[in-house]
């Protein structure tokens, strides 16, 4: 029996999302960052792809806007890499929503991403994905209370392989 008879009117939702993204230019232009209509469309497409590849569903937009507002004052962003980085950040965000088992809220994840991006990773998205956020997700999965503290000399961190032995 087909129980998934509902389909989401995505076209309508996407249009709304593009308008919202463009409206963020008012704030980001102060930092010399502007997204074109095409950039916004690409971002919305990236979000849809990231959602579907991570097996997630979203009912109200706003994540892209939140990322834009949070990251626009980063010293590592310029008009040159702005759009590309945002696309990467959107993908990273949904991937780590799953990896952190939905244990932390959207706002907290975004603010941690910004903090690591600016400080520990010095603007490297690869380091953010493969080192900082992986450690964060690991800490959350293993129930470490101070999960946001990623310093390596911390006694409480331990190897996953040791854990299984």
């Amino acid at each position: 029996m087909d129980t998934n008879f509902m389909l989401i009117p995505t076209v309508l939702m996407n249009k709304l999302a593009i308008t919202e993204i463009i409206s963020c230019n008012e704030i980001t232009s102060r930092f010399g960052l502007i997204l074109s209509q095409t950039d916004a469309k690409t971002l919305v497409e990236t979000r849809s792809e990231a959602l579907s590849s991570n097996g997630r569903i979203e009912f109200k937009g706003g994540i892209i806007n939140k990322l834009i507002i949070e990251f626009c004052d980063s010293p590592f962003l310029s008009q040159f890499n702005y759009s590309d980085t945002l696309n990467e950040l959107v993908e990273t965000f949904y991937y780590f929503k799953n990896e952190t088992l939905d244990e932390i809220s959207d706002d907290e994840l975004i603010s941690l991403m910004k903090e690591y991006f600016d400080k520990n990773c010095q603007g490297s998205i690869e380091l953010l994905q493969n080192r900082e956020l992986e450690t964060l997700a690991h800490n959350i999965r293993y129930g470490i209370s101070d999960y946001a503290n990623l310093s390596e000399d911390d006694d409480s961190s331990f190897d996953e392989e040791d854990y299984y032995e």
Partner: protein
């Protein structure tokens, strides 16, 4: 005069009880009772409800959730709406309701009904717990005293109302497995209460003897007590005796075998239906639900009865009462177990022996407990036919102890188990029976 009944466009029998709301929509679309725009409108409302519930689920902290979680929440919404829709028997009215009323209203009403059913189920369980049959059947006692209570502590009416996770081992007669969530639990408890009410016509001792007659190990079996009671009573009605009683004597069974074996399926069904009607009258059953429940048990009984008649095994259906079985006569207290070091010494000594007579004399001299003896058997120091020589040197009591122990751990498949079986095949029949009986009377615990 036959009364005329209104025919509905959507047939109730075409609807899926588990996914009621979805199947109504499907049927309505199939029969073109809903236009495309009306269906889309319902979809959109569902989506809005899902978005609202998702926000409640995440506490507004996450805008996205996993698809599986969303599916579960959507299922829960559909379930709640379904619970409300089931209240209306006229399916055409349901379609009209879906067109006119906002879905959120139907959902709210469904939630209220779920809460009502939840409260009613709790009340029912409480009554059942205080007034159940006193029996040793473990599944019955566990389900009533512990199993179902976990449902109430785990049930999430808002986000997983379709789940019915409870530890229910006791099988009910005519279980409606297509129901889910609180509906299932309510239905289960209602039937259990009816069954208890019916069984209360007999003393706990009578029921115990009936179950004992069914199987000596009835404690561990997953059996429905009501079904056994009902079947015997129907059998008693069919014997044409003046008094309806729980017990069916072997002579009655012979009579029933003769009376029923040549009947066609239709005749057998009719006869059982008549017998159940007579039973209702004799026991003054006025509760319509109980009457219905008894009626529903008959078709299945007819199938089992037909099968038993064909195989001449009526004793598995119509049971003779049996008093409490005799408790084991001997309480065996095992001797003191030797320590590991000494045990190793003895096994290596046995292993070094050239003749079996030496091995036997060491065993008889050193081993004073059945546990040690079994360990020796499993310690790779007795080989092939030596087992037979050792068994031959044992008295009946020792063999009975071994047999008792072997039957307890029969799934282990040790070498000495096979050797013991072979040995028993060889000895004479009277001794074998004597040892078997002896072993049954020993309590090794």
């Amino acid at each position: 005069m036959n009364s005329l009944e209104k025919q509905h466009l959507i047939k109730k029998e075409n609807l899926n009880k588990t996914y009621y709301f979805q199947s109504i929509l499907q049927e309505a679309c199939r029969l073109k009772l809903l236009t495309d725009s009306e269906f889309e409108n319902i979809q959109l409302q569902c989506l809005q409800l899902l978005a609202k519930q998702t926000e409640r689920y995440t506490g507004g902290e996450s805008s996205s959730i996993k698809i599986e979680t969303a599916q579960n929440i959507l299922q829960s919404i559909s379930y709640s709406i379904g619970v409300y829709l089931k209240n209306t028997s006229d399916t055409d009215k349901i379609v009209a309701m879906l067109k006119q009323k906002p879905l959120s209203e139907l959902y709210q009403k469904g939630m209220e009904l779920i809460k009502e059913q939840l409260d009613a189920s709790k009340q029912l369980l409480h009554t059942i717990q205080n007034d159940c049959i006193i029996t040793d059947n473990i599944a019955y006692n566990d389900t009533i005293q512990n199993g179902i209570s976990s449902f109430f502590s785990d049930y999430d009416a808002e986000f997983a109302s379709q789940d019915s996770s409870a530890s229910i081992d006791y099988p009910i007669c005519c279980d409606k497995m297509q129901l889910t969530g609180v509906e299932y639990i309510y239905d289960y408890l209602q039937k259990l209460s009816l069954e208890n009410q019916f069984c209360k016509n007999f003393t706990d001792h009578d029921i115990h003897c009936l179950l004992q007659g069914y199987n000596d190990n009835y404690k561990d079996l997953l059996i429905n007590i009501f079904e056994l009671v009902l079947t015997n009573l129907v059998g008693s009605v069919l014997t044409d005796n003046d008094i309806i009683q729980l017990n069916i004597e072997p002579l009655d069974r012979q009579y029933l075998q003769q009376k029923l074996s040549n009947l066609s399926k239709y005749e057998l069904d009719t006869m059982l239906q008549d017998a159940s009607t007579k039973l209702n009258r004799e026991f003054n059953i006025s509760d319509k639900l109980l009457e219905e429940h008894i009626g529903m048990a008959i078709p299945e009984m007819s199938v089992r009865l037909r099968n038993a008649l064909d195989n001449n095994r009526l004793d598995s259906i119509f049971i003779s009462l049996k008093e409490r079985c005799t408790q084991p006569v001997f309480q065996f207290e095992d001797g003191e177990k030797i320590n590991d070091e000494l045990f190793r010494k003895i096994t290596s000594e046995i292993r070094e022996c050239r003749y079996i007579s030496d091995k036997i004399s060491i065993i008889k001299r050193e081993i004073h407990s059945i546990t040690d003896l079994v360990d020796i058997f499993e310690g790779y120091c007795i080989f092939d036919n030596e087992f037979f020589d050792i068994f031959r040197s044992f008295e009946d009591m020792e063999l009975a102890l071994l047999l008792n122990r072997q039957s307890k751990y029969s799934e282990d498949e040790k070498e000495w188990h096979d050797r013991l079986n072979c040995f028993f095949k060889e000895i004479d029949l009277t001794r074998r029976d004597r040892i078997k009986k002896l072993s049954e009377t020993i309590n090794l615990d």
